[in-house]
């Protein structure tokens, strides 16, 4: 068990987890947005480390990643910012495998751990290629969060359930990140995950409104909100605006009682 596993099981006893996504270095003061989100009730922060070729991201996060890269953001600069900010909730980094591969797998795991990052999501790292990374990450107490897709057959869900750490990322739809009108196939995906493991299961991909968050929380343990927030920041939202948005998501989730 990684530290992230223990912390997220604890969150589950108290409430539905709210996991906002921010792009590291999108603005010079990006960590103030994170602090505002934590104040408004975020339980985990997902921090995107931009990559030039984000295969799993739609137009909003692509645009944000390009803007951050133009600011010369790197894995090291984002880790430095996270370490200085020392957030009180767990930070999970979302990046693509080449960023870690290029920096060195063991070196990346050590840097993340030393910066206080509790876990990573690497969407282009399928379970077939997972072992070298997972070994060094686990040794550094960095959890590797795996995704289950609507297309995953049950035997893969079982393998993913056995390998994931911290939480299971339940992809609500067959799509890349973006904004959507509903929670798609999320209930079916979460149900299949529940049959193979009791790891906290968070729903992401397309969660755009507090009502959708509350729909997803009826069966999941939490929600990940990405493009909807990144779009706001790209449109010039202040940290206070983000605090307001997160509060509305928090209230929506709190309307859904936690499973005992």
């Amino acid at each position: 068990m990684t530290t992230l596993d223990a912390r997220l099981r604890d969150v589950r006893t108290r409430r539905k987890a709210l996991v906002p996504y921010f792009i590291g270095g999108l603005t010079a003061d990006w960590t103030t947005y994170v602090s505002a989100a934590i104040l408004a009730g975020a339980d985990v922060i997902e921090v995107g480390v931009p990559f030039s070729d984000p295969m799993m991201d739609g137009p909003v996060i692509q645009a944000g990643a390009l803007r951050a890269l133009a600011n010369d953001v790197t894995l090291e600069s984002i880790c430095h910012d996270v370490s200085v900010a020392s957030f009180e909730v767990p930070v999970v980094v979302m990046t693509y495998y080449n960023v870690l591969h290029h920096f060195g797998l063991a070196r990346s795991a050590e840097l993340l751990a030393a910066s206080g990052v509790a876990g990573v999501i690497v969407p282009d790292l399928a379970i077939e290629e997972l072992t070298p990374w997972r070994e060094v990450a686990t040794a550094a107490d960095v959890a590797t969060v795996l995704m289950v897709a609507p297309s995953s057959p049950i035997d893969r869900v079982r393998r993913i359930g056995a390998l994931t750490q911290g939480f299971v990322y339940a992809a609500a739809r067959m799509a890349v990140t973006g904004r959507a009108a509903d929670v798609g196939d999320a209930e079916r995906v979460v149900t299949s995950i529940r049959t193979v493991c009791d790891t906290p299961t968070y729903v992401g991909i397309g969660i755009t409104t507090p009502d959708q968050a509350s729909d997803a929380a009826a069966f999941g343990d939490g929600v990940i909100v990405g493009s909807a927030l990144v779009q706001q920041i790209l449109d010039g939202a202040s940290a206070q605006d983000i605090e307001g948005s997160i509060s509305t998501f928090r209230e929506a989730l709190d309307r859904t009682a936690p499973e005992a």
Binding site: D53, Q62, H102, V148
Partner: protein, 387 residues
């Protein structure tokens, strides 16, 4: 050149680095390809389609005047004479037949200059498959005629406005799109790249080049050429011709564009579903390739080539834009063949290496991957000093 391991690895290269949403499709494709390629009926259907529709077999031509000029014996495998003007048809016919066999009704593809897009649209039309091609917005402007060709063939062309708006972004966009429609749609990758089984499958579909050429050289009395030379973008025409000679003593030479030289300047990395050699910066961000020929404008190389380079079984060299136009002119004037700019890279290397790395008297098989019709307007403006 045998198959990769179960997970699609050629040594430490290759593999499957894709989102979970696409993994079931990669596994399904792997199983479907293994099944089809082991089925004599499918293989016969593939060869019959290439013969009746694709213009195969393409001839081998002895290039007498070039040979005399260089002090070599140079033979050309004439992929420029295949339908749609390049070797690309071999791969798309194979993948389109496989698409139909899997019961899928639609095919998507990425394209740079438009050659692979045109070939895919052609095969899709022939087999009655719906077809959408992703093309960087920059390239849709540079290659407007190929956009029109694809539309004539009934395909939809989607300009890609993300990232650098060129080939690598078109691949990203096709992958993103594939996530949303993987149930009824096959992604027809255009070279020996991407997640397993693509690099292996595309090489197998292109190996017809090398297998034919080896037999045809025998008819000329050439047992084994000393050199087999091909240009390399992703590496599909090179992999196809190398496949016929990997078990011989022939030296295999892949010629990259200097501005897209993944073996020369790249480092191991992961992009577009594969681990290979890639152009990247100090932080692992992928760099854009640059070449006078859009078909070589790719920041990576197929994983099997990275492996062959590692083993020393094949050698990868690079030539700059400056010598490519001269090579195109020389082949046109001496042999009556206007090669594609991509192909002209292989010719340019041979001109430079003759009498040096390629000793006088050597026998050379040059893979003429495509014809230059698509490039004549660009070459004209370069020669007139307009660009």
């Amino acid at each position: 050149m045998g198959p990769p391991d179960e997970g699609g690895h050629f040594g430490s290269f290759g593999g499957r680095f894709v989102p979970e949403a696409l993994m079931p499709a990669c596994l399904e494709l792997d199983a479907a390809f293994r099944d089809a390629w082991g089925d004599p009926d499918f293989v016969a259907h593939y060869h019959r389609t290439l013969r009746e529709f694709g213009g195969r077999p393409t001839p081998v031509t002895y290039l007498g005047r070039l040979s005399q000029r260089l002090g070599l014996s140079v033979y050309a495998k004439r992929e420029d004479l295949a339908h749609t003007g390049s070797h690309k048809i071999n791969n798309v016919v194979g993948q389109a037949l496989l698409t139909a066999r899997m019961g899928k009704t639609r095919i998507i593809a990425e394209t740079g200059a438009g050659q692979h897009g045109v070939a895919t649209a052609t095969a899709a039309a022939r087999l009655g498959l719906a077809c959408t091609v992703y093309m960087g917005e920059v390239d849709t402007v540079r290659q407007a005629l190929n956009v029109f060709r694809m539309e004539l063939l009934g395909a939809t062309v989607v300009p890609v406005t993300s990232g650098s708006r060129t080939l690598k972004d078109a691949v990203n966009e096709a992958m993103r799109e594939w996530v949303t429609c993987v149930g009824d749609t096959h992604y027809c990758i255009g070279s020996v790249m991407g997640p397993h089984p693509f690099p292996w499958m595309v090489r197998e579909f292109q190996s017809v080049i090398g297998v034919e050429a080896a037999d045809q050289l025998h008819e000329f009395g050439v047992e084994t050429p000393d050199f087999v030379v091909a240009c390399v973008g992703g590496g599909s025409n090179a992999a196809g011709v190398f496949a016929g000679f990997a078990d011989t003593t022939a030296q295999l030479i892949g010629v990259e564009a200097a501005g897209g030289s993944a073996v020369g300047r790249g480092m191991p990395g992961v992009l577009h579903g594969m681990r290979s050699l890639l152009l990247q910066d100090d932080h692992g961000q992928i760099e854009e390739a640059y070449s006078i020929s859009a078909g070589l404008d790719y920041p990576g190389i197929g994983p099997e080539h990275a492996y062959l380079a590692d083993l020393g079984r094949a050698t990868y060299v690079a030539v700059g834009d400056d010598v490519v136009i001269e090579a195109l002119q020389l082949l046109s004037e001496l042999e009556g063949i206007i090669p594609a700019l991509e192909t002209a890279h292989a010719v340019a290397w041979l001109l430079r290496a003759a009498g040096d790395e390629v000793p006088t008297g050597s026998t050379v098989l040059l893979n003429l991957s495509g014809r230059g019709d698509k490039d004549v307007a660009q070459v004209r403006s370069i020669l007139r000093g307009e660009s």
